[in-house]
């Protein structure tokens, strides 16, 4: 289900002639659509505009919509004030490992839940669903204690190792739902040809699940890119900071430099928006798959 319109259904053409009420309703809808579009977009415009203002212009009342002068240098100052290059690299390492972990282990577990029948399966799937409804925040303190005992504080390990164990309930659930839509006959045919269960998973299911895998991959990447609470809890030395922690500490150190903070924020948001436009289909699919087919 993309953003594109569905082809008009033939019923539409058979509808009764439009009344005044319909016309009024139509224009009311258009009005509200535009009104809320303005509400939604304005913060972005304000962000962009403020990020291009001088320190003096930003504290001006009434505010200018189009900055005069336009100061693109803000971006250079903001991104070199702190080693954002290092943060970027760290984030890519964490996010990359997370994506790898989630794509392979969640699909692996999901195959077991979706396609194999065995005693205890429903019990364990019940546990998967239970952890789905328990947020990360509940475990924050207890896991910190465990990871500090393991000596993992101030390394990437607490952020990248756990996903290798199943990749999160949410992704298992999602992959399971997807696998269940693939006809079992294909797998049976492979089994008759002597394919093992691992073979069915690796050679049949994974290639057929590319859209779902890309979807969970993108969402995992986004989560790692955006996550603050995990990195801020575990990462201590600035050399290990991810983008989110770097930006948060940048904010606390440049208290009134709104121009620079907003430039850095724009710079951090931009890759996400670009990713969205490149992979819109998967975004929408991901959001939708989470909500439907309970």
């Amino acid at each position: 289900m993309g953003f594109r319109q569905k082809p008009a259904e033939f019923i539409e053409s058979r509808r009764r002639p439009t009344s005044y009420g319909d016309i009024l309703f139509h224009w009311l809808t258009v009005f509200l659509l535009v009104l809320f579009a303005v509400v939604m977009v304005t913060p972005f415009i304000w962000l962009l505009s403020s990020s291009l203002k001088t320190q003096i212009n930003i504290f001006q009342y009434p505010p200018q919509l189009i900055p005069d002068p336009i100061v693109p240098e803000n971006y250079i100052y903001a991104l070199t004030y702190k080693p954002f290059g290092t943060y970027f690299r760290n984030t890519l390492i964490v996010a990359g490992l997370n994506v790898l972990a989630v794509v392979f282990t969640s699909s692996f577990c999901a195959y077991g839940f979706a396609r194999l029948r065995f005693r205890g399966r429903d019990f364990w799937f019940g546990i998967v669903m239970a952890t789905l409804f328990l947020p990360y925040a509940v475990l924050l303190v207890p896991s910190f204690i465990v990871f500090s005992r393991l000596g993992w504080v101030d390394t990437f390990l607490p952020l990248v190792v756990p996903p290798f164990f199943g990749g999160g309930a949410f992704n298992i659930f999602l992959m399971r739902q997807f696998f269940r839509t693939i006809p079992e006959e294909i797998a049976d045919a492979a089994r008759i040809d002597g394919c093992s269960e691992f073979g069915v998973y690796w050679r049949i299911m994974l290639p057929l699940s590319k859209p779902a895998l890309i979807t969970i991959g993108i969402f995992t990447f986004l989560f790692a890119w955006n996550d603050l609470i995990g990195p801020i809890t575990y990462l201590r030395s600035p050399d290990n900071f991810t983008i989110a922690v770097g930006l948060a500490s940048f904010r606390s150190q440049t208290d009134i430099h709104w121009d620079l903070q907003l430039a850095a924020s724009t710079a951090v948001t931009l890759p996400v928006i670009i990713l969205f436009f490149l992979a819109q289909r998967y975004f929408i699919q991901g959001v939708v798959m989470t909500g439907l087919k309970g």
Binding site: F3, F44, G112, F113, V141, V146, E197, V272, I273, F276
Partner: protein
């Protein structure tokens, strides 16, 4: 299987294969199943049960990370009962949840209906409405802190342009909650898209039938759309409640819990207790408290609201 091999390692391997071949088909399937779900089971034991047990142990201890944990019996629990800061943070979290979840739900549903209209440029509107929900949390916090700035923020500029007062959004404990609700509602794009998908999944024929029966626009919404959408409304409600109990980034970065602890959300309180005050035992008790709240809440939501949900294909 050739039995006479000299290599002991190979013999070991053969032994395993022989054992495997001895299993019935059903046993083999079970074994296979557990091999596939093993990563999850391991992870559950290591990253859920383990930490939960550690937290259970610490609830009876006082521990600041440096010295050895000291047994204090029920002291952490009695402290919890008479902790005014905890009471405040619970109040903040519950008030926020009760206001923002229904409001966000209604707004998302409303927007979904708007963008379900058939227009030429509707795709652009869908994109615009969805974008706020993907802004990274930290950038989002900075952006909203600036929008709500008392002197130079855009929101006060608009209010003053219409002759309104200058509101201390982030300084006034009475206004700050509304500020958080507004910024949360701005980012409802995710649930909006889920609603949209649900709306598009309702067969057109139901509306046709309702129309033939003389149902107006309002009645079609009430008697076709809402019942058909109830599983999705319920899903978004549950997700919304869970998310509302997890507010952290905006509370930390926009107001740092203030003014006068008016945004000291529970997760922020737990985080500070553990990592600023180094009271690990008490933080463990608070984590258990959060767990219990969510469990009880889920129970009531599923019991009293979930039972009213209409499923077209039950048991699917």
């Amino acid at each position: 299987m050739t039995a006479h091999t000299a290599d002991p390692a190979a013999a070991e391997g053969f032994w395993l294969i022989r054992q495997y071949n001895r299993l019935t088909l059903r046993q083999r399937r079970t074994l296979m199943g557990y091999v596939f779900i093993a990563p999850f089971i391991l992870g559950f034991v290591l990253w859920w049960l383990g930490p939960a047990a550690v937290a259970g142990y610490l609830t009876f201890h006082k521990w600041n990370f440096l010295a050895a944990p000291k047994f204090v019996g029920m002291a952490n629990f009695s402290k919890m009962l008479g902790d005014p800061i905890l009471a405040q943070s619970l109040k903040v979290t519950i008030v926020f949840s009760v206001i923002s979840v229904p409001l966000g739900l209604v707004f998302a549903f409303f927007l979904a209906n708007l963008i379900n209209a058939k227009f030429r440029f509707i795709a652009i509107f869908r994109t615009i409405y969805f974008l706020p929900s993907i802004v990274p949390a930290v950038a989002n916090a900075i952006l909203w802190a600036w929008l709500f700035n008392t002197e130079f923020g855009l929101i006060n500029f608009v209010i003053r342009a219409f002759g309104g007062p200058k509101i201390g959004w982030l300084q006034d404990p009475n206004w700050v909650m509304l500020a958080f609700v507004i910024l949360t509602v701005w980012g409802v794009g995710g649930s909006m898209i889920i609603f949209l998908a649900g709306l598009q999944g309702i067969p057109q024929i139901f509306y046709e039938a309702a129309e033939i029966d003389g149902a107006g626009r309002w009645q079609r919404l009430l008697y076709v759309t809402l019942p058909m959408m109830s599983p999705i409304i319920f899903f978004n409600l549950v997700i919304g409640f869970i998310n509302s109990f997890q507010v952290f980034v905006s509370a930390l970065l926009i107001t740092n819990g203030g003014p006068q602890r008016a945004t000291l959300f529970l997760v922020l309180h737990i985080w500070r207790t553990a990592f600023s005050s180094q009271k690990m035992g008490y933080a463990a008790v608070l984590s258990w408290l959060l767990f219990l709240i969510l469990m009880v809440l889920s129970f009531f939501v599923f019991r009293y609201i979930g039972s009213r949900v209409y499923y077209e294909n039950p048991g699917d």
